[in-house]
């Protein structure tokens, strides 16, 4: 890609109103969408609001919708996009806008607090825990999560149905899965998952898995096993009978 110009339609506005504004800027080899946004910010619109930190796909700050697709702007190369047409960049639509590309994601931080914390079993005699690499790896997949909230952004339960007070969303189901499958954790979160975290709302459309920039197999590896756990523990008729008899 030699030096050329490209046009970007960037959503500018706040909680009250907003519209797309058009900016044209030079683009060069290797540039990502975030570079173009920064260039526009430095040269044409100093007050263009955007979150970013690491610029290497590790912090999950620069989530946005590029040509309608939820992406990390720092990991979206311009040569993957059709630059003969304007590129649209808009904030994540599932969350309330603050300004321009910045949204209010505070609901995620509050929601996480509602998930029962890690509670390890007592350590071995030397004060540490033995864990096998296989067990650790299963959980490490979930701990790769960079909290970019793109999975929350595409989840129809949140995006279309706005069930923010009944459903914690894929991110926090991944978080719960990491805790539940942690080989030394002793807490049981099944009842919470069913009653307050709303795991039943997920109907496995796998949109979250498709947009995860970390490639976490959210639905298959985290949510479905959690659903199975909930069913085994809370709906299994034999177990239910057993519980009734014990009471």
């Amino acid at each position: 890609m030699a030096e050329q110009k490209a046009t970007f339609q960037i959503w500018r506005g706040d909680a009250r109103s907003g519209r797309f504004r058009e900016y044209t800027t030079e683009v060069s080899e290797g540039m990502v969408v975030l570079d173009a946004v920064h260039q526009i910010q430095a040269r044409q619109a100093n007050d263009l609001a955007v979150r970013w930190n690491c610029k290497a796909g590790k912090c999950g700050s620069c989530s946005a919708e590029v040509n309608g697709h939820p992406r990390l702007m720092c990991m979206t190369r311009l040569n993957q996009l059709d630059l003969s047409k304007p590129v649209t960049i808009e904030p994540m639509r599932a969350f309330p806008p603050i300004r321009d590309l910045v949204t209010d994601v505070s609901w995620n931080f509050r929601t996480k607090l509602g998930i029962r914390r890690f509670t390890p079993r007592p350590p071995e005699a030397d004060g540490t825990w033995r864990m096998s690499q296989v067990d650790v790896e299963r959980v490490q997949e979930f701990r790769k999560c960079i909290e970019c909230f793109l999975c929350q952004d595409v989840c129809h339960v949140l995006r279309e149905h706005h069930l923010f007070d009944q459903f914690v969303g894929p991110r926090h189901l991944v978080y719960a899965a990491a805790l539940e499958m942690n080989p030394i954790d002793t807490e049981n979160r099944s009842r919470d998952l069913k009653n307050t975290h709303g795991i039943g709302y997920c109907n496995i459309t796998k949109c979250c898995t498709k947009v995860c920039p970390e490639g976490i197999t959210i639905t298959d590896n985290a949510i479905i096993p959690l659903k199975e756990r909930v069913i085994d523990q809370l709906y299994d008729p034999v177990a239910k009978l057993f519980r009734m008899l014990r009471q």
Partner: protein, 604 residues
């Protein structure tokens, strides 16, 4: 009279990376109320970028390791101008801090017998870095975050502190703004902990994000505290160099720890050409021995690619300047060659270095399992910072503490990879503990409205000038270009004198910076407010570097290319004089106790 919200905390922690979170957790556990200020959202601080691991002498992989070896390695790496007491505490306490992370939910990679796995890293004699693939920093910050949110800490996200408030000699609070609405906030506190990280944005090529503008350094300096060792900036040898938009992004040392080698455009492993005398006995004689070391052979010595970062960076610069560099002005870092040694090398690389694999694949169209990377030095870390008491982390100003990158001492002239994450934990904990202890002994100080008015007025000046003023980004870029060119990896007196004049001009320009728009989430305004900090730390780096007329660690003078024992007995400190100018002075290094001296001799 500016409008502001007021918050009261016993301890205020500024910065929410590893050090800030660890300090907040500790202070909170000590039973005081804690406020935690983050410049970005919680969990996004630069700690997430740390890749290689946490250095701690757990001796899980090599039972010859212990705190003494770690201490000696740290002092050797720092070329003996470290604060030896900090290096001692760090080496002794790091293992407990790592095990504590596991108790809070961290999931490190394991040894075959199920313990925490450790890997090789530059300057560490034995495999010492507890790690999670190449995303250890993310694991650490998430563990601290997920533990910390249940501790009753008040978190103030997207909030930037622009001034510390004093009552007489004592720090009693802080003043800042929140990004979302642009409103001012006053924090009253009995003790303040700075944990704001580094200064990387003062340079053009850097691995640091927008946040690293020397805020804590400048807040402390303006409050009258001493800064120390500011000439020691670490240029990490391996940053990406191509494409231009990603230049500076870090390529973990873990690549070399796993067997990656550095080559010039003639295919030569140039690191074998220059091995410093004090590391010769620890370095492999040939490629074969180096490879065996990376594969865990205890009889083998480490390959020269794993020499300290300052040295590797200079060797790379030498190759590039001699015309032996790669097409885009770097050298080659090759991990793909291990396919000649390992049966399923590609899978092994993807597993051990997953982020690196994706980073190059996505950003540079390079498959690191098949072809070499192009790398070159990038501004990564500053060893210098707020001068603190080794045990308590209190600065020279009562009530003001500092921990992590913004504090000086543990690293001396050069930091070993992996010693940063352990530093954050060890001294974050200590800062939190002693700040809480200090807070308990103090009554709340008086908040001086004049200090607030002054800071608020200054903060709003860029709006008064509006778009008639110069754009803040242009000034920042000019500063970055100048520091990179004149006070970078290779320094000399005349260039640094030019830099001092340049800084004066830039300061004048910064005073004329203007921004349009309003106060709500306005990055242009934020960039304008960061400028004075960048200028202060740039001046501190330049003035200290001019005074150190020798080469040591991260500081290299082409006009004084050798180490001079005359500079071994003190550190340079920087402080604000009554007229507002910057003074540079000497602080003698206290004599090392016999016991520690013996440890260094014993470890060779």
């Amino acid at each position: 009279m500016p409008e502001y919200e007021t918050h009261d905390h016993d301890v205020l922690v500024i910065g929410a990376g590893g050090a800030g979170l660890r300090a907040a957790i500790e202070a909170s556990a000590a039973g005081v109320t804690v406020g935690l200020v983050c410049k970005s959202l919680l969990g996004k601080a630069h700690t997430v970028m740390a890749e290689g691991g946490i250095a701690a002498a757990l001796a899980n992989v090599d039972d010859r390791d212990n705190w003494k070896v770690h201490f000696a390695d740290t002092m050797r790496g720092g070329q003996y101008v470290n604060n030896w007491r900090m290096a001692e505490l760090h080496a002794k306490e790091a293992p407990d801090r790592v095990r504590e992370l596991e108790a809070w939910g961290a999931m490190f990679d394991r040894t075959k017998d199920g313990r925490i796995l450790q890997r090789n890293f530059g300057g560490h004699r034995y495999p010492r870095l507890a790690h999670v693939g190449d995303r250890t920093g993310l694991e650490m910050i998430r563990t601290l975050q997920d533990h910390g949110i249940h501790q009753g800490i008040d978190v103030h996200m997207e909030c930037t502190i622009i001034r510390l408030l004093k009552d007489g000699e004592r720090v009693v609070g802080a003043f800042g703004y929140e990004r979302e609405r642009g409103r001012f906030k006053v924090f009253r506190a009995r003790a303040v902990v700075l944990a704001t990280g580094g200064v990387g944005r003062a340079f053009k090529i850097t691995s640091n994000s927008w946040e690293y503008t020397g805020d804590g350094h400048t807040l402390a300096y303006d409050a009258g505290a001493d800064l120390m060792d500011m000439e020691f900036v670490q240029f990490h040898p391996t940053g990406m160099v191509w494409p231009p938009s990603v230049s500076g992004i870090l390529v973990t040392e873990g690549v070399r720890g796993e067997g990656g080698v550095l080559k010039n455009n003639q295919g030569r492993r140039f690191m074998f050409d220059d091995i410093p005398e004090n590391y010769r006995s620890q370095t492999a004689d040939d490629e074969e021995e180096g490879w065996r070391y990376t594969q865990g052979d205890k009889a083998a010595r480490r390959p020269p690619e794993l020499l300290t970062r300052d040295h590797v960076s200079r060797c790379i610069v030498r190759e590039i300047k001699s015309g032996r560099g790669s097409p885009h002005g770097g050298v080659y870092l090759d991990i793909s060659w291990i396919k000649a040694r390992l049966p399923n090398a590609a899978e092994h690389i993807r597993k051990k270095l997953p982020s690196m694999y994706h980073q190059f694949k996505q950003l540079a169209d390079i498959d690191i399992t098949k072809e070499p990377m192009e790398v070159g030095p990038t501004t990564h870390y500053i060893m210098g910072g707020v001068r603190v008491d080794a045990d308590t982390q209190m600065s020279t100003v009562p009530g003001l503490f500092a921990a992590g990158e913004c504090a000086a001492g543990i690293n001396g002239a050069n930091r070993l990879g992996g010693n940063s994450l352990s530093d954050l934990l060890v001294f974050g904990k200590r800062a939190g503990e002693y700040a809480a202890q200090f807070a308990k002994t103090q009554v709340a100080g008086a908040i001086d409205a004049r200090q607030i008015d002054e800071a608020a007025q200054r903060a709003l000046e860029p709006f008064a000038r509006g778009t008639r003023g110069e754009g803040p980004y242009q000034i920042q870029y000019a500063l970055q270009d100048m520091m990179q060119d004149l006070v970078g990896i290779v320094r000399n007196a005349s260039e640094m004198q030019r830099a001092l004049h340049g800084l004066e001009e830039l300061r004048a320009r910064a005073n004329r910076a203007g921004v349009g728009g309003h106060r709500e989430y306005n990055p242009g305004w934020h960039a304008a407010l960061d400028l004075p900090n960048l200028l202060t730390v740039s001046e501190a780096i330049t003035r200290s570097a001019l005074e150190r007329r020798e080469s040591r660690g991260g500081h290299f003078r082409e006009d004084y290319p050798s180490r001079d024992p005359g500079f071994s007995s003190f550190n340079f400190i920087v402080r604000k004089n009554p007229e507002g100018g910057m003074d540079v002075a000497h602080a003698p290094i206290p004599d090392m106790p016999e016991e520690l001296r013996h440890v260094i001799e014993e470890m060779g």
